[in-house]
Assembly symmetry: C2
Amino acid sequence: MERTLISKIQQKDGQNVLIKGRILNVRSLGNIIFLVIQDYTGIIQTVFEKNAEVKMGETVAVKGLVKKEPRAKGGYELQGEKLEIISPITEDLPFDLARNELNLNINTLLDQRALSLRHPKVQAIFKLYDILLKSYETVMREENFTEIKTPKILGSATEGGANFFKVKYFEKEATLAQSPQFYKQIMVGVFERVFEIGSAFRAEPHFTTRHVNEYISLDAEMGFIQDYSDVIQMLNKVIKKMFELLEKEGQPYLEMYKIKISEVPEEIPCVKLAEIKKIIKKEYGYAIPEETDIDPKGESLAGKYAKEKFNSDFIFITHYPWSDRPFYTMPSSENSRETYGFDLLFKGLEIATGSQRIHTYKQLMENMRKKKVKPAGMEFYLETFKYAMPPHGGWAIGSERVIQQILELGSVKEAILFPRDVKRLMP
Amino acid sequence: MERTLISKIQQKDGQNVLIKGRILNVRSLGNIIFLVIQDYTGIIQTVFEKNAEVKMGETVAVKGLVKKEPRAKGGYELQGEKLEIISPITEDLPFDLARNELNLNINTLLDQRALSLRHPKVQAIFKLYDILLKSYETVMREENFTEIKTPKILGSATEGGANFFKVKYFEKEATLAQSPQFYKQIMVGVFERVFEIGSAFRAEPHFTTRHVNEYISLDAEMGFIQDYSDVIQMLNKVIKKMFELLEKEGQPYLEMYKIKISEVPEEIPCVKLAEIKKIIKKEYGYAIPEETDIDPKGESLAGKYAKEKFNSDFIFITHYPWSDRPFYTMPSSENSRETYGFDLLFKGLEIATGSQRIHTYKQLMENMRKKKVKPAGMEFYLETFKYAMPPHGGWAIGSERVIQQILELGSVKEAILFPRDVKRLMP
C-alpha cells in the first residue's frame, strides 16, 4: 500500500490509507487511544479503539480509515486499524514533548537540541525561518539582484582586523569572514546588484541575548545610487515584501506565538543618530553614554519612540559617527564627523546595518590614512577602485534577529538551530 | 531625468532617455564612436557622432534618443547626445576586456578576479550559477523540503576526522565543517525533509582541476524511505527539474559557450560499482587500480559508457565499498563489503554523493566499532538515534562542479568567484 501524505488525507474521505510519521502526542480515554501523528506535510489525529502499544515520539506507519470529524483540526481523523512501529524510542525522553509549552531553560533547550527542536512551537520558529530565507531569495531576484557566494576563509582580516577567528590554512594563517563586505563591493563592479546568504563569524566574547559568534547574514550591494537614501529605500522595499510573504505563508506559525506580524511602512521613519539621542534624552530622560554611538537601552527607546510617534515597529537611524564606522563607509559631505551609514531597528533592536560606500580610490586611501587602517592584505580590494566603481551601497541583515524580534523570543539563540557562543560549540 | 533601465529601452522608441552603466566596448569608425553599455538588466549599443572621450570599462551616464536599428542586438540603439563619466578608469586595464575570448591563463584569470569577472563570458558563468542556486531552492521547496542553516564551526571533527581545518575558538580548538552531515540527519528527526545551501571546507592538499578547499554544497536529507533507491529517485527528479530551469532561464549564457544543456533521463542509469569496473575493463581495456574505489579515469570511462550505452550524460554508480564510505552509511544487507552509498556522475565527473544512512543506535555503534571510529565528540549526534529516527538518506551536490561540467570549463575554479586552493587565499 502506498503512503498517503497527511496533507492529502481530506481527498481520501471514506478510504483506507497508509500514513507514516512521528507521534506527537498519545492520549488514552478509557479504551480509546488518540495519537497525533506528524509527517512533513501536516498533522492528523488517529483513533485506536484498543490499546496501541506505542510511545510519544516514535515513528510509525498507520493503516486506517479516513473519516470526517468536525471536532478534529482539519476536519478529518483516521480510524486506526493497524499500527507498525517503524523506529522505537529506546531511551526515555528527557522532557515531555507533548506539553503545550516546553518551558525549558535556555541551556537545556540548546543542550538537548535534537529533541527540543521536535516540539511544535520550536519547529514553528524554523518553519518561519525557512520562509524568511525564501522571501529574501524571492524578493532580491524580483529586484534583479544576482545571487553570489563568496569565500569564508580569508587571506587577511578585513574591516580593521579585530574579532576575527583564526584558521590554520595549510602552512599559512587565515581568518574567517566577518562579512562578505569586500567581495560584494567588488561584485557591484561586475553585476551592479548582488546579494548573498552566507555564514558570518565574529570572535566577540559577548554574553548577551542578541549576539552569537556565527550567524547567517543576508547581504546586498547595489550600484549607481544617488546617495545612501537609495539604499535605505531599497532595504525598506525588501523588508516590506519579506514581511508580507512571512505574513501570508507563516500564519500557522505566527498564530502559535499569538503574534500579529508588524506592518512595514511604505516609508520607514528615518532619524539622524544625533537627533534621536536628543529625542531620547528629552522624551525619556535617558542620556546615551558618550563613549558609544547608541547602546541597547538607547535602541530600545528609539524603538519606543518610533512606535509612539510614527506607529512604526521600524526606524532607520542614520548618519552614524565617522569614528565608529568602518573605513569604507562614505563620510558625510556636510559634516565630516558623520557618515552615510545607518542601522535599521525593529522593535528596538538593530536587525540591519548599511551605508553608502566610498567608491573612488583616492577618497578610500585618504579615509584609510585618517583612520590609520593599513592597506596590507587588502590590495586586491583597494585596486578595484582604480577601475571605475560606480557610487554604491548596501546592507547586511542579521537573519536570526529578524525571527527573534518577530516572535519576541528571549534570545537570538532560540532562532538558531545549533547556535555558537563563547561557551557553546556543541551540539 | 530619471534613469531608464536598458531592458526597458524598447518601450521608449523615439524618446529621449538617460541610461547608466559600464562601457563594455568602444569602437571608432571615422567620426562615429560605438559604445556598448551594460547595466544590470541588459546591454545596448550607443552611437556618438563626434569623438566621445571615454575609455572601455568606465561607468557612464548617457542621454540619447532611442532608435530602431535592425542590425543592433535587441533591435534598438541609442543615438547618444550627452555622455557623462560617472567614475573613470585611473589605471590601464591589465588585459583587454573587449576581446571575444579572454584567453588568460588560470592564474592571471584568478589573480585579477575583480576585472576578469567583468568579461561577458565570465559573467555568464556566474549568471548560470545564480540560476543554479535559484533552481535548487525552488525545486527543493516544491518537494516540501525545509531549508535549514547549520553551524560551520564545529566542536569536534566529524566523519572520521581527517582533512579538517582547525580554528582557534576562544580558549578552545574547533574545526570547520566538511559537510552538514550530522546536522541534516538530526533535522530529519524534526522536519523529515530538509535541505541546505552552505559552505563546506576540506583541508585536502589537492592540486587538481576538480578540487578546491572551500565550496558550496547543496545538501538534502529525507526520511521514511524504503531504501537507497528512494534517495536516488528524488535526486534524479531534482536534477532533472534543475536542468530544465537552467535550460529555460540560462539560454543566453549557454549560447555564449555554444552549449546545448544535457537532457536528464527520467531514469538515470544505475550501475553497481563492482559491475562498472568489469564493464570498463571489458569495454575500454582499463583496470581501475585495486587501492581505490574508482579513479578519475574510471569515472571518465563510466561517463563514456553511459553516453554510448544509454545516451545519457548521467550515471549513478551504486554500492560503494564498506571500507571506503563513512561510518554512518548503511551497509548492504546482501553483501557486507558493500554499502547503499552511491555517486552521481555527470559527463564523467562526480557531481553528487549520497547514501542511505544507518538509522538505529545499535547498528550505528556496531558499524563504528567495526570501522574503529571513536564516539568522542559525536555524542550529541549518536544520542539522537535512541529517539526513533526513521529510515533516511540524502545527498550532497558540489554546486560548482555542476556548472563546470555544464559549460565544460577546464577547472572547477573557473566556476567559483574567488576560489580557495592550497596556494590561493587571495583575492
